[in-house]
Each structure stands twice: as structure tokens, then as C-alpha cells.
Amino acid sequence: MSEPGVIPEDVLAELLPPDEKAEGRAVAVIECHEEIPCDTCRWVCPVKAVIKPAITTPPRCDWDACIGCGTCVLACPGLAIFMVKLDGEWAEVSVPYEFLPVPKRGEVVWALDRVGRRVATAEVVRAVTSKDRTSMVTIRVPRGLAHSVRAILPPEDGTGG
């Protein structure tokens, strides 16, 4: 039996972009695999890179079309979309964030995995906040963590960590 709230390994493998699609360019990683009634990611994407034939079909990202704009990351009501950019020894991971304070560029935060373990400290490269108050925070982590880091925690913050 799989852990609650953690996508089973074999399903996850299908959702992650092959290395060459994310080398040197940010692409969306959509970690949403159930048939839930939602299609926000499909209609917000400016280049129609999200493939979703019906409202309850799980979305897939067309990584060749994706321009890494992050619109879907900020819009997804399930906070289930991330961005990954591979860059030599490093990787940039962008995560949705709805806590205060929103960390600023240059700050160092904890990088958390899918079950909240602190797997590294990481520098914030960028942070943007949408009009409806979801932020997207981009951090730099070792390349090997590109597909395990999915959240951040400010250093002395108590929330959840």
C-alpha cells in the first residue's frame, strides 16, 4: 500500500520529464494523477502545453511546448504543479507557496521532500507572488534532488516542520 499523499513511485516516474527536456530550461512538472474534476491548468496555460481531454482526465505536460512561464504553478488549486530546470551540477526547483513571510532572493531556506523531511538547505533564486496571493519560490538545489524537493521552510519558522 502506498503512503497517503505520496504518489506511488511507478506513477510518479511517468509524470517526471526526461532529463533532456529540462536541461537548461524550466518545464512544468504536474504531480496530479487522479481523475479529479478540475482543469485549471489546461485553460490557464498560454501555449496550450497542458494536455487534458476531459475535466476528469489527469493532466499531462507537453514538455516540448512548455515555456516554463509558471502560470500553472501559481494557478493550480491543488498546489500540485512545480517547475524544474536542470543546470549542470545544479537544478532549480520552483514550488507554490502560500505562507508568510515569502522568502526573498538570496535567502537560505530548508528544502523539503514530499513528506516534509529537510533534505538540504537551499538559496532562493526568485520569488513571485500572484494577485491572488499564491507565491512561486524558486530555489537552487544539487541536481540529484531535482525530483525529490517539493517544498520549502523558512529557517526558524514553526509551520509544520
Binding site: 500500500m1 503512503e3 497517503p4 499523499g5 505520496v6 504518489i7 504531480e31 496530479c32 494523477h33 487522479e34 481523475e35 479529479i36 474534476p37 478540475c38 482543469d39 485549471t40 485553460w43 490557464v44 476531459a54 475535466i55 476528469t56 494557478a75 493550480c76 488549486p77 491543488g78 498546489l79 500540485a80 502560500e98 505562507f99 508568510l100 523539503l112 521532500d113 514530499r114 513528506v115 516534509g116 523531511r117 491572488d132 496571493r133 499564491t134 517539493r150 517544498a151 521552510l153 514553526g158 509551520t159 509544520g160 516542520g161
Partner: protein
Amino acid sequence: MAHPILEFDRGREVEFNFEGRRIRAFESESIAAALVAEGVLTLGWSPKRRRPRGFFCGIGKCSSCLMTVDGVPNVRTCITPVRDGVEVWRQRPLGELPEAPPPEAKAGELDVDLLVIGGGPAGLSAAIEASRLGARVAIADENVRPGGQLIKQTHKFFGSRENYAGVRGIEIARILLRELDGLSATWLTRATVIADYSGRSHDVVVSTPEGPWRIRADAVVVSTGAMENMIPFPNNDLPGVMGAGGLQTLMHVFGVVPGESALIVGAGNVGLILAYQLLQAGVDVKAIVEIMPKIGGYAVHAAKVRRMGVPILLRHTLRRAVGRERVEGAEIVRVDENFRPIEGTEESFDVDMIVLAVGLTPSTEIPRQAGAAWDYVPELGGPVPIHDPYLRTSVEGMYVAGDSSGIEEATTAMLEGRVAGAHAAAELGLRPDRAEGVIKEALRQLESFRSGPFSAKVVRGKQRVWERAREVIG
């Protein structure tokens, strides 16, 4: 503390009297919320054993907050706004009727085409659709602020573009209220509908702070929402044991966070979303316990709390709440295949809040009082009025929509409300051609929204109800 999503417009500061103490509050608060903010967690006592009782539902449905306000006993203080100088007393345990004469026989009267009972997403949508088609509509809601459950939902909604997918619940409430504002419907706020005597038309009694109103309507839409479920465990009545919606009300409507650490019972969408919202309010969420071998909610909702470090403990249940005057801890235990506790697997948590997210039961008092046929449908959360796909009940001119027709979601509540509102207007002979288009489109969207595996249970329940409707609705 600043909230990542909300800004609170608390309004003017007021002062009221609580058992001889002067308490400062904001005019936007309910009496119960103001007391909880002051640290008064015991809002009353049980009649026989005098056990302390606290805030539970926050929407006027559980009576755990009844107090005597300005001499009037049994006032639901969670839906009564604070005012300068009001006198509030807890009851020990029952209130006493005042000497004063009863209120005027009638405070107001109204004659409308359609009365909508309940101003949540279902009711607002019904009122909007019927008004647009030219019906004279009145809408009554008993809460301090209209909008139903939407006004406490800080998260973004699923759904399709037409149904505000990606928009926060609080914002959807604003959009619907603004839309209705532009139409000519009559609003009755803090107005509780207590009975519908239907003959040829509906003769409805509404209790308001000024006294009772009498409303005659050709049709009524009942969209009274739902009541949170309670589960049995020792000390389940201690202050600090709260319904998920009740806690959302305190945190998101009034900006009051009544504790520092929480244990959540139930890993459906409500429990999962609430866990995330508690983290946003700065609360330490120790765990979510779920008796079933898998979560009931969406994986994406679970994922967003897991990655913030909140454990979800499957096959676990709450054994007891610990504490004397208020919750001081929670004891949980693992269960076997037959849901029996496994001795020796108990675990304790120091928490000051235990939040129940164990389902809702439709509020169907009005249709049942009016004589509507009903059935117990577990897939829809309990007793529901029998209704057809157009939301008609067996009482002529009475519709149900939203959670009171079966527990579902805000998106489906809005769609059902539109169908009911448009159908009622068409039956009155108002622009039936346009109404038909509205109904068709809403039914199409409902079907597509309900097409996934998560809706299978609801669809089964609805189909059973529709089948019964063929027998009981003429």
C-alpha cells in the same frame, strides 16, 4: 499575526458586558467569537451533568453556544453580532423566559414569486438565476454574513472555467453576492426560516431580530446546507473539540485562532484542506487520523500537507479527548480490519484542539416539516428530500439544492441552485425558453463535473433519489 490569504476588516471597536465583565470586541464579530478571542472557551453547561460546552459549529446549528443576551434566553451567540453594551450571560444550564411580553405578532410581510432559504452557493445561484429571468425573489439567511460555507474557504476551487475553477471560495462568494446585488432580489439577513405552511402557495414564517416575518411565495428553494457530524468518544463534548467548519468560521470569518496545536480526525477533503489552513494560521498540526485504510480526499490535498511535515495516520482513530475544562490532549489508537482498537497501540498528543472532519448531514428540517417525501440515503450523507433532476420535491413548488439535497461540493451546489432557480421561474411562466437553456447547460456541467470516480458514490445516491422521485412526484 498576518494571514497569507486574508485581510480582516474588523470594523469599529465595541464593548459589551459578559457576566459583569466588560469585554472589548470588534463589531464584525459574533458574540461567541468575541468570547473565544478573550479566552472564554466554556460557553455553557450540559443540562444534567453540568459538563462544560464550547464552540462547535459556528453556524447556528448545534446549540452549544446558547446564552442569555439582553434578557432573552437561548440565543445562538455564534450567529449574533456583538453590539455596544449588550448583556451576555451563560445559562446554568437553561435560560429563563423573560417577563416581558412576547414580540409583535408580525414584524413584516412580503409577497414574492420565489423565496430562497439559505444564502450559500446554492441559494445565491438560485436567486440570481430566477431574478435574471424576471422573478420577484426574496432570499433569507440566518448567519451574520451571507455566502454560506464559501466565506470561510480560503483555498482555490477545482472545477471548470465557467464554475470559477482556480478562484478562492471567499472570492466566489464576493462574485455571487455582487451579481445578486445588481438584481432586484430582497435580502433578509439574520433571518431564520422556521416553517413553511404550504397550501396553494407557500406561507413561510421567518424569525428575525425584529420579530417574525410572514412571506408568501409561489415557490421556495431550500438551500439550507448541512450540519457537521459528531462521533462518539470519551470527552467529545469538551471545549476545544470543534467541527472543521466551525473552526474555519472562527479563523477565516472572525480572525480568531482558538489554540496552538491540533489533531484532525478524518482525511477527507475537508480534513485535508483544514490541516493546510491551520498551518497557514500558524497552528502546529500534529497529525490527521483516518480510520479507513486509505484517505477519502484528493491526493493533491494530502500531498500539500504531507510535504509540510504533517503525518496522515491511516487505520487510526481517536480514543479519547483528554482534559477537564478544555482539551489538553488527544489519545489515538490503531484499529484492525473490523475497526476495533488494537490494545497497546495507543499514542498521545499534547494538543489544545481536536478538529472533527467526519462528514456532514443535510439540513432538511424545512422540507420534512412541510411534508416532503424523504429517504435515508447514506451516499448523500443521510436523510434527503426526494427530488428529481430539476430539484423538485414532492411538495408542490418546493425545490432543494446544494448540500441540503445531498452532501457534495460548492461547485455542484451552484449548478443545482441554477437549475432549481431557473426551473421555478419557468414554472411561473417567466421566459420558459430562456430558462430551458440555462437548465440544460447547468445539467450538462453537473454531469461532466460528476463524471470522475470521486463522484461515483454521489451519483449512485442521486440516481436512487431520482428513481424514487418518479413514484412520489406527480
